[in-house]
């Protein structure tokens, strides 16, 4: 599969101030997360990909289409769920979604059918004839998702999709996004400042800070690597022989404070083998946990870098 997003020296300026600073990246994931603190440039990047902002220099491509010269073709591929409210208060939900689907090119009958389907799919089937202005915040978020998917886009842009949702609503929204992602029919770009949202929905993440790319990692690979990463806590402080024995097994080890040892297990070695080695060396393991270099660690490391670059 070719890259979903290609950024080639993309620079966006507002009033002489650089908001996105010569970004270079090639993102191939099925679900790509854009992470960063407020003001990092996540929404600006999405808006640039949508053609709302003109690049000052460089280019950006979505599925190989240039967002500057092929803006119309690019927008034909996209379903967009904006961060803020986006509706016409006096229109009923299903009528609004139908109109938006028609503007995306669906014939009226198909647009109507898909508007109904989308509303049932996001759990708003019962309220689809109510004016959008009367919806609660959670319902508005779901209605935005229905609007974004009604015309069957190939790329779905979700800008802070869980904003303002209570925990059950958030869980439901995340489940919907995961379901859409797992169908494999479309690519998903999720912009959020919530690490958990990105971690639960995305397999690749681009971390932005101050308009720069602070980190770019493949969460799927990280997850695979982290499966073999353990942290042990032993009773004694001196674990020299134990460490040597682990190295002989093929493990990578690192000694921490207070009897803690970080271990990366090689393929084919199971955790039980560590207990056996510990017994042989007369070392008592008090705690063993699967430690992972979580997205939070990656994010914090990226944020610590002074200029926003790792």
């Amino acid at each position: 599969m070719g890259p979903v997003i290609e950024l080639d020296g993309l620079e966006v300026r507002f009033g002489g101030r650089s908001v996105l600073n010569k970004l270079h990246a090639s993102l191939t994931g099925r679900a790509i997360g854009l992470l960063g603190p407020n003001g990092a440039g996540k929404s600006t990047l999405l808006n640039t990909l949508l053609g709302f902002h003109k690049p000052f220099s460089g280019t950006a491509r979505l599925l190989g289409l240039d967002v500057r010269t092929q803006a119309r073709e690019v927008r034909a591929l996209i379903g967009y769920m904006p961060e803020n409210d986006a509706f016409i208060a006096s229109m009923s939900g299903v009528r609004f979604v139908r109109m938006m689907a028609e503007l995306a090119g669906l014939p009226p009958q198909q647009a109507l059918e898909r508007a109904h389907e989308s509303f049932f799919y996001v759990g708003l089937g019962e309220v689809r004839y109510r004016p959008l202005g009367s919806y609660s915040l959670g319902m508005k978020q779901s209605a935005k998702l229905a609007t974004a998917i009604a015309h069957g886009p190939r790329i779905l842009f979700l800008d802070e999709p869980t904003n303002g949702l209570d925990p059950p609503q958030r869980a439901r929204m995340i489940r919907l996004i995961q379901e859409i992602r797992d169908r494999g029919d479309l690519s998903l770009i999720l912009s959020s400042h919530l690490l958990r949202d990105v971690e639960e929905c995305c397999d690749q993440v681009l971390i932005l800070k101050g308009g720069n790319i602070a980190a770019h990692c493949n969460l799927e690979e990280e997850r695979r690597a982290n499966r073999r990463f353990l942290e042990l806590e032993t009773r004694s402080e001196s674990n020299g022989c134990f460490l040597e024995a682990l190295e002989k097994l093929g493990c990578h080890t690192a000694r921490g404070a207070q009897g803690r040892i970080k271990v990366i297990l090689p393929e084919g070695i199971e955790v039980q083998r560590l207990y056996a080695v510990a017994a042989e060396q007369n070392v008592q393991i008090r705690r063993l946990s699967h430690k992972r270099d979580s997205l939070e660690d990656i994010f914090l490391k990226a944020m610590e870098a002074a200029d926003g670059r790792l």
């Binding site: 006096s90 090119g105 109904h116 609007t147 998917i149 069957g152």
Partner: protein, 300 residues
Amino acid sequence: MAVYKKSYRPYQGELTPSWKRFLVIPRYAFEDLHRSRFLTIFYLASFLYPLIAALIIYIEHNVEALKLLNLGPAAQLIAIDAGFFMSFLGWQSMLALFLAAFIGPGQVSPDLANNALALYLARPFSRAEYVLGKASVLLVLMSLMTWVPGLLLFWLEGYLEGAGWAGEHARVASGLFFGSWAWIVVLTLLSLALSAWVKWRPAAGALVFGVFFVASAFGNAINTTQDTRWGHLLSMDTLIGSVWLQLFLGDYPASTGAAFFRLEAGRHLPFWSCWLMLAAWCMACLYMLARKIRGVQVVR
């Protein structure tokens, strides 16, 4: 399968031609307008004058009807000439102004009030198509009030007068057509621009009237205090009236004309300045629309 049992699936059917998509906007707008009883009645009432005018034309050419009404020769009743059609256009254009003030502000402001504009423009749909779609609502409605019945009346008069009349008065027909378009384009752009900048609909509607009456009063004040005629450039009715006079008659009449076009002798503006000022109004409105009709507003 029942619709509520269906899960997400991509769309693989046919798409409508992209050039037709702007027509989605007026279709939905007409449905909304049709729900308003007041607007429906107002709109139907706006056809009273054309009906009366048609009746007058018919009676003018029906000797039996004139005898029945105990009236003299046809020419003495009312003259069907450029003045007749200008009066028709003047009256209908005033109604068009009311229509623009009622429905114009409801076109763009609801999309801006809750950021729906981003969703329009996130689709394969340009800003120009959006404005064209919104403008077409007003253009169609105002056309049906002005030049369409005007040309029908012209055709009726030509038919009843017999061969030659239509050809001799072709200038009237072109005046009706182009004069109406000049007016409805200005009105459309003005009401859309104000709708884009003033999100509260009643205020935007009041502003449409304000531009006409307040600017006109301001122009008159300039004329009086500065002893000039150029203050009329701020008066929209004077501008359009002058344009109509040029289109219908070719020049200012020696005597004062209908109510819409009264100006003292020597206070007339050159025609080119009227056209230029109307074009400037249109450009200003387009600029205002261009500033507001964006997928996202950048706060610098």
